[in-house]
């Protein structure tokens, strides 16, 4: 033993526990207290709340369940700052989940990217954001900037948005019956793509078209504005809508209010408050909330400046209620991404986001440009759920029941959708793949894919 001393009798200082001293203990229990010696053992023995990898061994090979387990292990390893284990699982996942594989593999690849982005963003693993951005195809980089025409046809590809549009428009038409002035406040992520149909419907109503006032929340300038991104200014978009309305003999007034879900649209709500002061009761105020309410911070988003016990989400609904609207329509995805821990969100998102990946095969061929846009958008969502925290995490979906509680809590009562609305939705669904369906839940309508809840639409009036 010439080269270097390792002092047999003092071997214990090499080890934090020092208990096993010499020889055999040293040899294989090297680093036993570190749990690092056998890094992949973590597959089978990572933190307690998780099922062990026995689930992996069920023989259900390559299934979504395995992928989910591995992703959960990976997320745990990242959260625990365990670089070795994380690296191993990432390597495995990379190899079993190519981003151009089947729907489960693509789903997993998107989650993997999101986890990597999270690791780089939180610095949990001492990452270098720039280097990661270069190496990982962050979903955000690929989100397409749509022209209005592209966006309109893109949205028509799937009932995801159309379902909410149709249900909402039908409910709005019912609610504003007889009002000479209709003021629609559009809180939506889809850039007024719903409005032309609404204008059409209002133009052809029995008592003649109303004066339509449209107020649009412009959230494009927020740090985490959700896709789709419209490559056109709202002024330009408004001009087109006004022209379209004129062609339908509807007198229309278009207004854009730059605002942000991060502060519960306070600038928009303030403006509406002032306007409501001078109203004479001939105007029906309608809030069309399409896939944007979930971007308003909920209770898990951290402290709210005013009262700790009240979330911005609750505040917003209360202030909407105070404006005495004729109707509030809420269309949201029926999922819950509000878990505080990333693993909880990962599980929830994995068990919801498979739907867009599964469905896309029915309406967009592999390799098509639109499919890239579509998957980038889904990837953006996954990344936002997993990788972002605080106000930047805007994908804070809650399920239908929770929204119902919130609306009731804010002083609203549900308004049931009529048969006519349900019928129109069914007709629309017939244009799409067989997997899509619709069902009623309480007073609400629910879009389903292969029987799984996807998007709900609910309508509310002040109680």
């Amino acid at each position: 033993m010439m080269q270097f001393t390792h002092a047999a009798v003092t071997a214990s200082p090499l080890h934090p526990n020092g208990a096993h001293g010499l020889g055999l203990g040293l040899f294989l229990d090297v680093g036993a207290p570190r749990a690092r010696q056998w890094p992949a053992g973590g597959f089978a023995s990572t933190p307690p709340p998780l099922p062990t990898s026995s689930k992996i061994s069920l023989g259900n090979l390559n299934s979504a369940g395995c992928m989910e387990q591995l992703l959960v292990h990976c997320a745990n390893a990242i959260e625990a700052n365990d670089a070795t284990l994380t690296q191993q699982i990432l390597w495995v996942l990379n190899n079993i989940a190519p981003s151009d594989g089947d729907s489960n593999q693509r789903l997993t690849a998107a989650f993997l990217c999101a986890l990597v982005t999270r690791a780089s963003r939180t610095g949990a693993c001492k990452a270098v954001t720039a280097a990661v951005a270069a190496a990982v195809e962050s979903a955000a980089l690929h989100v397409h900037r749509f022209t209005a025409v592209e966006l309109a046809s893109f949205i028509d590809l799937t009932p995801w948005h159309r379902f909410g549009y149709m249900a909402a428009n039908a409910a709005i038409l019912d609610a504003v019956e007889g009002f000479p002035v209709v003021h629609v406040v559009d809180l939506s992520t889809t850039h007024c793509m719903q409005i032309p149909t609404l204008i059409d419907m209002l133009a052809s109503r029995a008592e003649g078209p109303p004066i339509l006032r449209l107020t649009v929340a412009d959230v494009a300038s927020c740090s985490s504005a959700p896709p789709p991104v419209l490559d056109m200014s709202y002024d330009e978009l408004g001009a087109k809508l006004v022209n379209f309305a004129r062609s339908r003999n509807v007198s229309m007034d278009f207004r854009v209010v730059p605002t942000s879900p991060a502060d519960a649209f306070s600038s928009l709500v303030d403006q509406l408050r002032v306007q409501q002061l001078v109203l004479d009761g001939t105007e029906a105020l309608v809030f069309n909330c399409h896939m944007l309410l979930h971007a308003v911070p909920d209770e898990t988003a951290g402290s709210v400046s005013l009262a700790q016990s009240v979330s911005l989400r609750t505040m917003l609904l209360k202030s909407l209620r105070a404006l005495e609207p004729a109707l509030v329509v809420v269309a949201e995805e029926d999922a819950d991404f509000t878990a505080g821990d990333v693993v909880g969100r990962l599980r929830a998102a994995f068990n919801f986001m498979w739907i867009p990946y599964d469905a896309v095969d029915t309406f967009l061929p592999k390799g098509s440009e639109q499919r890239r846009w579509y998957e980038a958008e889904v990837g953006w969502k996954v990344e936002n759920v997993l990788a972002q925290e605080g106000v930047d995490r805007v994908e804070r979906q809650e399920d239908r029941t929770r929204w119902g509680q919130r609306m009731r809590g804010a002083g609203f009562r549900p308004v049931a959708f009529g048969e006519e609305a349900a019928g129109e939705v069914r007709t629309m669904l017939n244009e799409h793949a067989a997997g899509w369906g619709m069902k009623r839940e309480d007073d609400d309508l629910m879009l389903t894919w292969k029987g799984h809840n996807v998007v709900f639409a609910s309508a509310w009036a002040p109680s």
Binding site: M1, M2, Q3, F4, T5, H6, A7, A8, T10, A11, P13, L14, P16, N17, G23, L24, L26, F27, L28, V30, G31, P33, R34, A35, R36, Q37, W38, P39, A40, G41, F43, T52, S53, I56, S57, L61, N62, N81, D82, A83, T84, T86, Q87, Q88, I89, W91, V92, N94, N95, I96, V116, S120, C125, K126, A127, V128, A131, V132, A134, A135
Partner: protein, 616 residues
């Protein structure tokens, strides 16, 4: 540190001092230290123009005299002669200014410190069970408590052991060039007492005594002088001018002490290695199980603290996984199973591949274990458990081999086919940092490659250090390894305490205060390689790293051709690195189908994949 080595220096014998002092009086006054520092650094040179030779030769002579080595006939001395006859010249001021500054140090008066005993009791560690015999002299000059212990003294050893061990938990290396009191310490280097030449040790003591008043005001300049001293010492070694080398090697710890961070550590290891070579105090291969255990421990820490081994594993696994695509029966032969850390990830990936997992056989090769444990089997047992958990049909065999050259094809051959309908087994051979060891034995690599060919593997994965520490002169090897390991140590420094420090439980988290245990242990891991590269020769020099180009030649000659590692592997390696390497200094590169991992611009390790070339 300065304080410490001053204390240490105080241990010099008075007689030596007096003698040196006389000589010093005749030395010229200290020069103005007005060299252009950057230029010096860039040049790293110690060559001089012939027009400057007279001056330099004179100063060298003075230096040698001042160092108490007047007995050496300076004008004919190899070192000086070499300098004098050098015909490639640049930066002529280097040598003369360096010599001048060294003279100025030697000129300084000794400090008023009480001399320490020349026989430091702390030098000896004799274990009860006799794994370690009487230690030879240690050259450590950095630690006041272990001052100088040039001459082994078995008589005092046992008493010393008890006093020593609690104070020094690391005990990893001897102190020849060491300047870090935390990691250098008493040495127990068994079975080599006779090699330790007392005169050399005495000279070491003397040098320390002489040099003690050095106050290095300028770290940067001291750094340059440190590099100069290392290279000059290596050159003196190459010229077999051991008296000059001896004088120089003693300066290294002192100069290194003025440095911080990676520079100090790496210089300490190189200084130590040089000292071992100069004093013919070379590390011997150790056959005790403790060394294997310790090597394993170091390996595990190296795995944790930096991305090199992780990179090695997942790039090799990538190639193996792709080679196994669609195969129902696969067999991996791992030339260095260690703790088997490479294989769980591959097993997991195979378990989840489309179409289900193959049946997986692993042959793990490892060194003989003199003790009772069958370490290879324990590794196999753990892997088998893991494979069972994830539902992979798994067989394991441990192969004990002192050297890979002992392997014969029949040991690696698949067992008799179960039936005529059985698909033949597809074999992958995996070698991580193993091939270069074979270069120490003539013909060994050829034999091993022949064995590999005989089992007709689908793929051979090779990970090696990307450097030439084998061919060329000693000085070439020294210079290349100095650059190589400086970069390696830099990268460890850059990564700091790795994330694993946090997650590895309260016990080690407490122990992992800066610098992290992983980092310290990794430095020791690399330090052993440095020692082998610099201090060893012949069959003992096993760290014979060669570059990709050289391996390409060797493997090509043996009938293998490169399998290009795909862009997927490159992308993955980049991603995983960017995420967990702990700094943007690490860089993955693709080089003719092979992947390298380096620090900034310097590739440090390379993964390549090979298959048997089609018959011509």
């Amino acid at each position: 540190m300065k304080r410490e080595y001053q204390d240490a220096g105080g241990s010099g014998a008075a007689g030596d001092m007096g003698m040196s002092k006389d000589k010093m009086m005749s030395a010229p006054p200290p020069p103005q230290e007005d060299e252009d520092v950057d230029e010096l650094l860039a040049a790293l040179g110690y060559k001089v123009r012939s027009s400057d030779m007279a001056d330099v030769a004179q100063k060298l002579e003075q230096l040698e005299m001042a160092m108490g080595m007047g007995g050496v006939p300076a004008p004919d001395d190899g070192f000086t002669t070499h300098l004098a006859t050098e015909t490639v010249h640049y930066n002529p001021t280097d040598l003369s200014s360096w010599v001048e500054s060294m003279l100025s140090e030697l000129n300084a008066p000794p400090p008023p410190l009480p001399p320490a005993p020349r026989l430091a009791p702390a030098s000896s560690t004799v274990t009860a069970d006799g794994f370690f015999d009487i230690p030879p002299p240690s050259l450590d000059s950095s630690s006041s408590s272990y001052a100088l212990r040039p001459i082994p003294s078995p008589a005092v050893a046992p008493a010393d052991l008890s006093a020593d061990s609690p104070r020094d938990p690391k005990r990893m290396r001897t102190g020849g060039g060491s300047t870090s009191s935390s990691s250098s310490s008493s040495s127990s280097l068994g079975g080599c007492v006779v090699e330790a030449a007392p005169p050399a040790a005495a000279a070491a003591a003397e040098a320390n005594a002489i040099a003690l008043p050095v106050v290095v005001a300028d770290t940067q300049e001291a750094g340059i002088r440190l590099v100069h001293a290392l290279l000059a010492c290596a050159e003196a070694v190459q010229q077999e001018n051991f008296s000059a080398a001896e004088a120089l090697v003693k300066q290294i710890p002192l100069l290194a002490a003025s440095q911080g961070g990676a520079m100090r550590k790496v210089a300490a290891y190189f200084g130590e290695a040089l000292a071992r070579r100069v004093f013919r105090f070379r590390p011997q291969p150790d056959s005790s199980h403790l060394d294997a255990a310790f090597a394993d421990l170091l390996h595990a820490h190296f795995y944790e603290s930096c991305p090199y081994l992780k990179f090695a594993h997942f790039t090799a696994n990538q190639a193996i996984l792709e080679a196994f695509a669609g195969c129902r029966r696969v067999h991996v032969v791992d030339f260095g199973i260690k703790q088997g850390m490479q294989w769980p990830a591959l097993l997991q990936a195979l378990a989840l591949r489309p179409g289900g997992p193959p049946s997986f056989r692993l042959t793990g090769v490892g060194p003989p274990q003199p003790d009772e444990t069958d370490a290879l089997q324990q590794v196999g047992w753990k892997l088998a458990q893991f494979a069972h958990t994830i539902g992979v049909d798994f067989q394991y065999r441990g192969l004990v081999a002192a050297t890979l050259a002992d392997l014969e094809p029949f040991m690696l051959q698949p067992e008799a086919q179960d039936g005529p309908n059985e698909e033949p087994e597809v074999i992958a051979v995996n070698s991580v940092f193993e091939m270069h060891r074979l270069l120490a034995q003539p013909g060994a690599l050829e034999k091993v490659l022949g064995t590999v060919r005989a089992v007709r593997p689908r793929i051979v994965t090779v990970v090696e250090q990307e450097a030439n520490h084998n061919t060329g002169s000693f000085l070439d090897r020294f210079t290349e390894s100095l650059h190589y390991y400086s970069t390696m140590f830099d990268s460890l420094e850059g990564a700091g305490s790795g994330p694993s420090e946090i997650s590895s439980g309260p016990a080690s988290a407490a122990a992992a205060a800066t610098p992290g245990t992983d980092q310290v242990m990794s430095e020791v891991y690399l330090g052993r390689q440095i020692c082998n590269v610099v201090a060893c020769e012949g069959a003992e020099r096993t760290e014979r790293h060669e570059t990709l180009g050289q391996w390409r030649g060797r493997l090509g000659h043996a009938g293998f051709e490169t399998v290009h590692l795909g862009s997927n592997a490159y992308k993955q390696a980049s991603t995983l690195l960017a995420l967990f390497a702990g700094g943007d200094g690490y860089k993955v590169d693709e080089k003719e189908g092979c992947l390298t991992l380096g620090w900034h611009t310097r590739p440090l390790i390379a993964t390549s994949a090979w298959r048997m070339a089609a018959a011509p």
